[in-house]
């Protein structure tokens, strides 16, 4: 007979890693791998196509570097990451409720938080890996100066964007379980799609503002030629401060989500 030889109080780290490993193995299906490949190849193809069109115009090296840095940023850490996290992080709880498996997490102490963090980590890894691969594919075709610097900056921003947006969407998906995807999409459209591009104080509360400011400083972009972009970034606040704001924001949102999961009662089953 097999016995549990340790105390029956699993550590959160161990449980989270167990959920992450379980979710990773579950994602290794032909369909999911196909979706992953599509999400990596499509944005890379888009950027390569634009670069091939632009190369005919014979722009100078600085224009190519700054212009394509902004394009890479818009396509990968912004649009692709937001869509990826929208898809995977928003449904952390609602997908469990739909498959009627949440009840098995509820019955195990600490499992709710482990499920949240494990699935969140999986969403971040899954989405970041597609955008980082897309960056890796696209940059050699652009023919820009300092390609390694651009690659490292965009890949880091992809990961930071996934962490920040993932926490936001996980929170929205937990608070609005029934209309999780619609609400999160609405938020992404209004906050990150509209408010983030308004040159006013309101855009400082968006993830996009912080990411753009980090890009501009790390890449030392000459934004005189990109006036619209210049008005919605900040050079006054340091990169470390922007990163700290995003890290604290993501941690707070995840803590709030975990609290919400513990404090709320869930629909036990369909008959209610």
């Amino acid at each position: 007979m097999i016995e549990a030889t340790t105390a029956i109080h699993p550590s959160l780290v161990k449980s989270t890693l167990s959920v992450l490993s379980y979710e990773f193995r579950r994602s290794l299906t032909p369909i999911r791998i196909g979706v992953w490949a599509g999400m990596a190849i499509f944005p890379a193809t888009l950027i390569i196509t634009v670069s091939m069109m632009v190369q005919r115009r014979q722009l100078d090296a600085a224009d190519i570097r700054d212009g394509f840095s902004i394009l890479l940023f818009l396509v990968l850490p912004e649009v692709s990451t937001v869509l990826g996290m929208l898809l995977w992080a928003t449904s952390i709880v609602s997908s469990e409720l739909e498959s009627q498996t949440w009840v098995y997490s509820v019955i195990r102490p600490g499992a709710r938080t482990a499920m949240l963090l494990g699935k969140y980590a999986m969403a971040v890894i899954w989405t970041s890996s597609t955008t980082c691969v897309a960056t890796t594919i696209a940059i050699p075709f652009i023919g820009m100066t300092q390609p390694l610097n651009t690659w490292a900056t965009i890949c880091t921003l992809c990961i930071v964007s996934a962490v920040a947006h993932g926490a936001l969407f996980a929170f929205i998906g937990t608070v609005f379980q029934r209309r999780a995807m619609v609400t999160a999409f609405g938020y992404a459209l209004i906050a990150e799609g509209v408010l983030a591009w308004i040159p006013a104080t309101v855009n400082q509360f968006t993830v996009g503002y912080r990411l753009r400011s980090i890009l501009a400083q790390w890449m030392d972009l000459d934004l005189e030629r990109f006036d619209r972009f210049r008005r919605i970034v900040s050079f006054d606040t340091s990169v470390s401060m922007h990163l700290a704001v995003l890290a604290i924001g993501a941690t707070c949102l995840l803590a709030l989500t975990a609290w919400r999961l513990h404090a709320s009662r869930f629909t036990w089953q369909s008959e209610f």
Partner: protein
């Protein structure tokens, strides 16, 4: 048999109890899930019986801390299951909802549940295979759960509930989807579990399914705990409650005359089509004694008697009527007001 009513007296709860609910009410907005349930049970095997929508699953949700009572408090093995989740490591739950999980084998899914229950990684693979073998899924360990039949998924749910060796097993409609052989195997498994001295709470809407597993029943209906006791007490309670009996007799005219003079007769209706009498009686025990005497002494021929005994819907209707004070409870001929707090049958 104890019947439970609106004004049940509070009882002291102890940490030794398997479960203790202190006047627990749960509201889903303006819908009542469970209503003023007050009970304390020692460790043992119990069947929670009630028709669909009676509040069984809500009660299980409360016991496992998934639901929070609007009023009152819940203690499971001395702990509040919502605040002190550590107690849940001693509980195995098999919910009624189907397992709609994709792209994962039963073995891997149970391995995760074991890890989340605190089992060391080195043991989970072996334990997962062992428990799946126990429920009869030994040959299908690595098959994806979504390819299982309903009965196999039911066994898989039971396996995860038992895997971490809990002290209390809570099963919600575990016989759903099982074929007769599966039902028999499940029954044997649960009998074995109870015989090991472990506790069991088995929710079902079919009385005869659970009678083989345990002799202790909790009857729930409309969110209220109507009665608790053993099978024998249940039958005695039924015998003491007013009920309707249909008699098929060749001597229906003579029998109607005899019945009409009885003090316990509430109503008598004759169905000329099939020569049957529909009789409503206050004291079923007296009725059945009289019928026996008439057969033996007066030669009355009875072809068939249809009563409420064994008919769970009728039983619940009777208990609800009594609960609302619409019926008078008779105990060996003595009559008590329906508004009394509790009565021993």
């Amino acid at each position: 048999m104890t019947t439970h009513q609106h004004h049940d007296y509070p009882r002291e709860t102890t940490s030794e109890a398997l479960l203790a609910l202190d006047h627990v009410t749960l509201l889903y907005d303006n819908v009542i899930g469970v209503n003023d349930i007050h009970i304390e049970l020692p460790h043992g095997a119990y069947a929670l019986i009630g028709p669909n929508g009676a509040g069984k699953s809500t009660l299980i949700g409360l016991l496992t801390g998934a639901l929070i009572p609007t009023i009152g408090s819940v203690r499971l093995m001395g702990e509040d299951p919502h605040r002190s989740r550590g107690v849940l490591t001693r509980v195995g739950l098999c919910p009624a909802s189907d397992l709609l999980i994709h792209n994962v084998s039963a073995r891997r899914w149970i391995e995760l549940q074991l890890k989340l229950s605190g089992w060391p990684t080195s043991n989970v693979r072996e334990r997962s295979a062992e428990v799946l073998e126990l429920v009869g899924l030994g040959g299908y360990l690595d098959r994806s759960i979504h390819t299982y039949s309903l009965g196999m998924r039911q066994r898989c749910k039971l396996a995860q509930a038992m895997a971490h060796r809990p002290q209390l097993l809570i099963l919600d409609e575990p016989f759903n989807g099982l074929d007769p052989i599966g039902r028999h195997q499940m029954t044997e498994l649960l009998i074995d579990w109870a015989e090991q001295g472990k506790s069991l709470l088995l929710a079902s809407h079919v009385l005869h399914e659970v009678e083989q597993v345990t002799d202790s029943f909790l009857l729930i209906y409309g969110g209220r705990l109507l009665a608790s006791g053993t099978s024998g007490e249940l039958h005695r309670l039924l015998a003491n409650l007013p009920q309707q009996v249909v008699i098929f007799s060749q001597d229906s005219n003579r029998l109607a005359g005899m019945l009409a003079s009885m003090p316990w007769l509430k109503s008598l209706e004759r169905d000329p089509l099939n020569q049957s009498l529909i009789v409503a009686v206050d004291r079923p025990i007296d009725f059945f004694q009289s019928i026996t005497n008439w057969i033996l002494q007066d030669g009355i021929v009875i072809d068939r008697l249809l009563g409420t005994d064994g008919d769970i819907s009728s039983l619940f209707r009777l208990l609800v009527s009594r609960h609302r004070g619409e019926l008078t409870f008779t105990d060996r001929g003595r009559s008590h007001s329906g508004k009394r707090s509790s009565a021993q049958g």
